[in-house]
Symmetry: C2
Subunit: 203 residues, 2 copies
């Protein structure tokens, strides 16, 4: 019979965050991509993930593909459910960051209050990445044919057409993905990550 | 102006899971601790996390402390909310595993259907860890004074007293934490992790 008292749990984790950072060689944090549909969020997040992985960072993309089918499969597309979707993304991103990972999130996240909640959840390591090629470029790209449908009235409340997009007021980084190639954008973002998430840096 | 078409996102991640495993030196997965209150779930998960971290594994504990205040702060303690709490834990654990982490979850999770959902979400790397010192040991420990309150009728539907605990039918590992010390239990679990999550292993 083991000592009854020794199975009382300690308060909090026995491995602290700075220990995790020292081991992985970088701080954890959140690169929160925001912008209109077609602005390049998923493209850049996935390309940056690959680049950072090759550079030796621990990183992971959270996007609609891996959240809508699992954690957020109970949510629809009502305004309330969209808000709850982004709230959960923010909380999960913060959890990932607290393991020492650099998590890259790719969601339109059109409302300032939602993004501010995500920033509050993640704390210091939160970086708002605003992709801003302008509506005309996004609509010309229209990779999923959504703008066409929205203009035809087939999709109600489509961000940028019939629903608002609230531009970030103080994003940590802005990329005009109408003027900058994917390769150049990845280089820019990679330099930003290397600087902001270095272990020596005090964010 | 960048090529309009190059910002169409690729299908899926550009870094696949085996690449992540090779880099970290181990597979990702879920060690799902289940058992009565006082059975040692948090104690062992936190102690194992520390040991695995020192051994070079990428690992993280998900427990009530880091989920109830964030992601699951909208949930109460009704049967529906408890179910939803465990569903989200299972989905988040699966997400963590898909980054290559070994996630250790510490929740009573008394219902088989809930644990089976978590297993389904995580797939191959799911390991059910049943801590079974028996009710009498848990009640004698009573680290939070909850059994006393439950016996006094101050807590309704308390698992093991006035609500059921459905024992795992085929757990991957069982530890009698009434007979085995914390140190011995950690050694046992560490050996299990090293064997199951080795890169060479085909789970």
């Amino acid at each position: 019979m083991s000592d009854v008292s020794e199975y009382s749990p300690p308060i909090g984790h026995l491995v602290d965050l700075p220990e995790r950072w020292r081991k992985s060689g970088h701080r954890g944090g959140v690169m929160w991509f925001t912008g209109l549909s077609g602005s390049g969020k998923s493209t850049l997040a996935l390309a940056l993930e690959k680049q950072l992985f090759e550079d030796g960072f621990h990183t992971f993309v959270l996007d609609g593909d891996n959240l809508r089918h699992g954690l957020n499969s109970d949510l629809g597309f009502s305004p309330e459910d969209r808000g709850e979707n982004i709230r959960r993304v923010g909380e999960v991103a913060a959890l990932f960051a607290s393991t020492g990972l650099i998590v890259l999130t790719a969601f339109i996240s059109p409302y300032r209050t939602d993004r501010d909640l995500a920033r509050a959840a993640a704390g210091d390591g939160f970086q708002e990445v605003y992709l801003d090629p302008g509506l005309d470029v996004c609509e010309r790209r229209d990779p999923k044919g959504l703008y066409r449908k929205a203009r035809a009235g087939e999709i109600p409340e489509f961000t940028g057409i019939s629903a608002p997009y609230e531009s970030p007021t103080a994003p940590e980084i802005v990329v005009d993905t109408g003027a900058v190639t994917v390769e150049e954008s990845v280089k820019l973002l990679r330099d930003h990550v290397a600087r902001i998430f270095s272990v020596g840096e005090t964010a």
